[in-house]
Amino acid sequence: MPGDNDIKIDVFKDLLYDAVREHGSESRLFTQSDLLDLNVIPDRDVLLLVKVVQALTADKLLVATREGSTLAWRWRSREEAKKYTSFPNDETMLVYTVIDEAGRDGIWNRTIKNKLKMHESLVKNAIKYLETKGFIEPMKNNVEHPNKKMYIKANLKPSERATGGPWFTDGELDTAFVEELQELVFDYIKTKSAYLSTHIPMSGGGGGGGGATRAPKKGVIRGAAPSTTAPGEDTTRGTKRSATEISNDSSPIMQNSALPPRSAPSATPAPAHTSSRNARKVFLPLPAGYKQYPTVTEIAQLIDRAGVTNNTTLSEADIQQLVDVLVFDGRVEPIKVNGRKGYRVTRAVKQDTQSFSKRRETNPDCVSGAPPIPNGLMEAPCGRCPVFDICVEGGPVSPSTCIYFPRWLGIEQAPPAVSKEVTAS
């Protein structure tokens, strides 16, 4: 009896559909044996299963796909299925299927055409219909293929690949965001990988041996506590820092600032007048074998906690990318201690001790990190000369007609012809 059979199939249809839904997500593929193993179809009746599955596929509730060489199915939600059944014609349905299958990556309209081997106008009509109905939408800000017209199912978030990951906003690399985060990360690494000393300054003039460059510093210390320094000591032991320490031992303040406690720099009890007037804050490198240089994981946690990225979540890989850029900038360097890969700031002594945000308040154009090592070539006019390559004596541009050298030497426009007066002697 056909009616009886139909009812039976309807029942099994519902049963099978529910069972399948229970057993996995929309993307799971069920093979024939999987379906039989659900124990919905009695006696593992393959013929019955075929009928049931056919019915479900006709209702668009099951989608047949190919897994390897065998056939497999995945389920589709009833709402989606309803969409499918609502399409006016097969072309529209096929186009929608293709777009649906492309998922979050989206699909190029030319690919749709090629895949379906349909005429362009048909595809166009279908897309127009789907767009007006709000089933699909054009993909905006595609970073991967910026010049292709792509479509994506409505209400679907484009994939990372298409958007370019967290560093992109509206299809553009968000350089401001990247830079801000870099500064944040850099400041974090800087403070965590170097020791902030409120000590007397370490960096004096360039070059020279220890003794010579240290000379100005004594003056600084002595200046800090002039009242306690006996004048005699200045002359006899002026070149020794230790000597001034003796003279200072009655003033505990100086001891503290000369050898600060381990805790955070803010805890340094040096009074304001000492630190502001004389003791310059400076970062010092940490001794070898330091185990707590910040790792990428720690940096990621910091950024997570700080909540600066309010609607983007950054994975550790993203942070790694950020830190790598800092490494390439030469601002930080990786350091491995006992197999733990941390990062530390380069040239700690030359780093600015103020945090970036604070410095930017005073100077909006400032850059973080140590300034480049001064260099003889770049100091001379030739290093930055735009016509350096064609500059040759006797040519159109030559050292004798150079306009940069006089300016560099402070001659500016050289005075016109020298007066012919005879020099007196």
Partner: protein, 663 residues
Amino acid sequence: MNTINVTRPVGELLSLLVEEFLGELPARIFKVLLTRGRLSAPTLAQYTSMTKRQLLHGLVVLQQHNLLHYKVDPESTHMTMYEANPENAYNLIRVGKTLEMVDSTFGAAAKDVMRSLLLSGFTRISDLVAAYQEQIDEASKATRTEPDDEDPFAEPEGVNGDAQAAKKPGLVIKSTAHLNSVICRLVEAELIEVMHDKIFLTHHDLVKGAEAKVMKEYFPTGIKGNKAKVELQEKIADELREDRSKSKSLKRKLEQNSAAAKRRKLFAEGGLNGAPEEETDPLLDAKQVIRINHEKCLVDLRNRRLVQFVNDMIGETTGYVYAVLLKHLTKSLPRCRTDPLIDISEEHIEQGKGFVTTDEILDSLKTAVDLSLGLGKESRDKFSSRAAEKVQHSAPKKKIILEAAVDGDASADEDEHDDGDGSDSDESMADGDFKPAQANGTKVKFADGVAGDYKLDRPTQLKQHLLLLAESSQRFVRHCGPNEWTVDFVPLIQTLKEAELDSIIEQQCGRPGLRLVRILRSKGKLDEKALTNTALMRKSEIQQTMLQMLKAGFAHTQEVPKDNKADVSKSFFLWYCDTNRSLDRLQARSYKSMLNCIQFLEVLRQKEKDVLSVTKRLDVKGREKDVMRKEYYDRYSQFLEHEKRLFAQMGRLDDLITLLKDF
């Protein structure tokens, strides 16, 4: 051999340098020799259109300053062939730096002797003694006379700003015995070496000569087989090494003398102040001809440069420790670069023992230096002393038994823990006599109870600095054994070169440029897209920066066709960086920039010709300020100022070139 590739700007630069230092006549000859190569005197006369008398005069001047190679053709013609010596000509620019270096390490007296040597080229010791004797005599007659006419050298010394300072206090060399001892010291430091006939040969001639000699002596029947070839190479190397060691004959003689050891001891204690030495030096053979050993000077200059690098990268206290370490390590290092022909197998021969111990460094540190400076402090449990003190044996020439190293490690650990158990109060008290102030300071700190447990004893502090150097990404030192330290110069210098290049890139193309170059350096060849992803930069920005760098020679492109058709529109374009190529270009740029400086100086001289001609007059010279009209004097002093700046700039450029070429 540090050979200069004499390109056109380099040739011009060198002949201008010679002109600057020795005058126009030698410079003209030198220029012809540079451009034409090896020439005999008659042809030289033809090219320079000089009379024989002028020519010979010029050649002698050049010869005297070691700016010529010559070779007498032994077989047929007995013709002497001359060739320019561009290396030594370039060394002229370094004169001021060398003197300054000698001044700071050996004192004013040594500097004075070096200056005399630089002024007169190579000199017989007796002549030098006679010259100084004359000065001493004159000085004793109470007339203060300057050493002699120093016109050509006034400028380079002016760069250092201390030329006048040396002159003012009168004579630095008090007696001939003093002179003798100064020379002894410089000979021992290898800064002065003995001349011998082979010095005048070009490197090529030297090798050829050695080869011919070896062939004649050992392989009269020719070479057969690979083994014989290797043997030949070794024999040649031996021969060359022998030639090279000839210049050290005076030093060897000094070392044999027992007085040398004694003097060295005295020297180590207080000689640095340039105080008159004990007059126990052996009298030097007056017939020996001596000259300045630029190769050894370079070693010292390299040390300074490395210290400066450490100052920049880590800090000055660490830099000072490094300076002491380098001084010890390079004491018997004769030159910066090894000769691939000579130093084939037995590198160790002239390298000394190849490492320095912590104690040696400790013994040479100035007591005034506070080692606690320049390093951060954290509680001890945050450090892994095992990781810090990891010993790296990777030196090819030095093997340490593994167990020994492990033992050393363990004991070092224990030491550290001992310190940590509060016993350091005793220790720093024990330090008391060594450095009273420190102990004193510590005590107060204990009373405070704040930073007490950070007070480390001096050896530990020293070790911390050394370990920091070893841990640095630049690998300034290598911890090659328990408490033994060495420096791998070759990779370190490469790092320094790259750092220099990076700094130039950063200044020229900004930080984005630097970022891109470093990405390419570490990842190899990349296309634009990969570059965008790694650099987190906008495509347009990258294109702009890369173009700029391509033009400046910091980056290069390569086109890789997709298929056999090699369709340009379908090809991949890869960016890459060839660091050595960039460095070569940088060197060429520096030479040219230096040439521009010296040429511009010439322009200035032309412009101020009337003023300068006045200052050359005998009645004006020496008292320009009193004699010249104010307006003219102002112009003159301004010119001197500019001249000084240009020379200083050339010195700065030389820093770069020396690094790229010689270190």
